[in-house]
Amino acid sequence: MEQWLSLLDSTIRVATPLVLAALAGMFSERSGVVDIGLEGKMLVAAFASGAAAFVTHSPWLGLLAGVMAAVSMAMVHAFVSVTYNGNQLISGMAINTIASGITPVLALAWFQQGGNTPQLDDDSRFHDITLPFADALSNVPVIGQLYSKLLSGHSVLVYLTIIIIPLVSWVVYRSRFGLRLRAVGENPHAADTAGVSVARVRYIALFWGGVLCGMAGTFLSVYQTGSFIKEMTAGKGFLALAALIFGKWRPLPAVSGCLLFAFADALQIRLEGVDLPVIGQIPSQAIQVIPYVLTVLLLAGFVGRAVAPKAIGVPFVKSR
């Protein structure tokens, strides 16, 4: 029980930035704009929030800076994809490359710590929050333990994410904006005829994508490690993209994909160097590679079939 709880607990920790990034990607891709730049947006957010939190001693100002940095990158992507009708894949690639270049350069120039930001002190970081009655309930079997060990004791960003998941799901499927978002991603010409501004919807979608990526990046630097580290996203943006495809561009299945990948990751850390019966040791790389292989198989239709939003990647040119 203890072991399972701690395994699930780390699953939640690993999954949070993935979930935020995957939902960010969902906004963008559901509106018809491919977003392979999630990684880069998370990275600039991690740097900006780490730097701002260090300077201002406030994790919340850090979060604000992270969100602003990610949103500004998202707006570059929006300008290229929506206003200029440029190639969205190349733009996303550019954002990733720019992010991995600019963050260590600025970090080194401003903080002289080899491209990282200084370790944040306790006041400038997000902390684990103990939910009410968590201590009192910790002796109650099952429910009490689940509550106090699993649900309690996370960062405020985790709880925000838990609120955001149903919210995003509601926005996409039940709100007026969500209907327009999906319409623009599936058939922009029809949406345009119905009087919806395709450009406006896509800009808004990318804006919210930026906000979520900003939160994901902030989670990494201001909560998890307590400083920005060069290339600290380490493929998480692409993992989120994989989860998004795994979830067939739908919010809840995408979240499940993130949880699955995070579980595999948490498991892999525990299996390191452990001899299992029959199979022996599993190399950690074999588990790391699972999400990527799954995504390839899924895209190829060997395991289910992932069908992208129809208008994805195609610039919308208003017909005259």
């Binding site: 491919v34 392979i36 570059v76 290229v80 200029y84 009708n85 440029g86 190639n87 969205q88 894949l89 190349i90 733009s91 690639m93 550019a94 954002i95 990733n96 490359t97 720019i98 992010a99 991995s100 270049g101 600019i102 963050t103 260590p104 350069v105 600025l106 080194l108 120039a109 401003w110 491209g115 060069k230 493929g235 692409f238 993209l241 994989a242 495809i245 190399p283 790389q285 074999a286 790391q288 590679v289 990527y292 292989v293 995504t295 390839v296 895209l299 190829a300 239709g301 060997f302 992208a308 195609v314 610039p315």
Partner: protein, 368 residues
Amino acid sequence: MKFGQPSTLPRWAQLSVLPVLNLLAALLVTGFVTWLIGEDPWECLQLLVSGAFGSGEGIGYTLFYTTGFIFTGLAVATAFHAGLFNIGGEGQAYLAGLGVTLVVLAFDHTLPPLVLVPLCILAAMGFGAAWAFIPGWLQAKRGSHIVVTTIMFNFIAYSLMLYLISHHLIEAGSQNPTTREFGQAAWIPALHQLAAGVGIALPNTPLNLTFIMALLACVLFYLLVWHSRWGFQLRTVGVNESAARYAGINVSKTIMLAMCISGALSGFAAINELLGSTHRMNVSFTNGVGFVGIAVALMGRNHPVGIILSALLFGGLTQGGLELSFEKPVITREMIIFIQGLIILFCGALENLFEPFIAGLFKRKEDK
């Protein structure tokens, strides 16, 4: 699918004026960032240029880096001509390195150089092509998007190589995840050694025969893409897939073959690095060469001449940037990655951004 605002400029201006303006825009932003971190952009540029082209040794290293970038640039360009965006050059070069290493470790004490080196090249091409073939096949037959698949294949390649190097190929007794040094039979001769043979003294650099192969590959690429039947099919598929199908072109075969050629070309980057310079394989030998190829192909507009020039630019940036970072510790290798990203943005995603500003100039000339 055509992206961006269509260009109305004369073709020569599209191929020269626009890329130069895009490059200037990228450099301007870089200059701004340099100024922001408290360095003098003009002084840095001078240090960079003299580091890259100011000495024989600098030029040798610049051309050595250029060699790898030409190959990955051509690789990306081949896929682009078929309308495919192959982000997987990095993984393909990685796997090609595995092919080379397996051949070398097996035969470097038994085979003579004249047999071993070509065998290594074949292995690099084969492994690179195979790693690119799978995404190509998945795109052509199963409709899975090549960009996402090649991204995933980069990660799979990285994990696979990390496992193989640290568990199986590692030099016995070594703490670092590298293979043992390759036998001399597998070394591709450096140009300064060859030049010394005919009495010319060149500075000692890793620039090797692979550079000549890169130039040859550019010629072959030009002939293949613009002067062969298959090249015509390739470009037709790239411009309009349904028209190509209607004209009786086997689209999926063209796509798969284009990816194989792309992967094989990426493989040469591994040859340049492993057989030309380091003579052993470690986990990070590709060092982003596949990603630079994207910027090179975009800036060179998928034409061999453009690719040579932009590969030279990136070779110069890499070498000059290293020299610069000795002088200015604040400016690291990452600054070059930043420039690379800006070039991808301006030359790739926003290629005709400045067209409206200069279109007037060309129109007025025509009127006169």
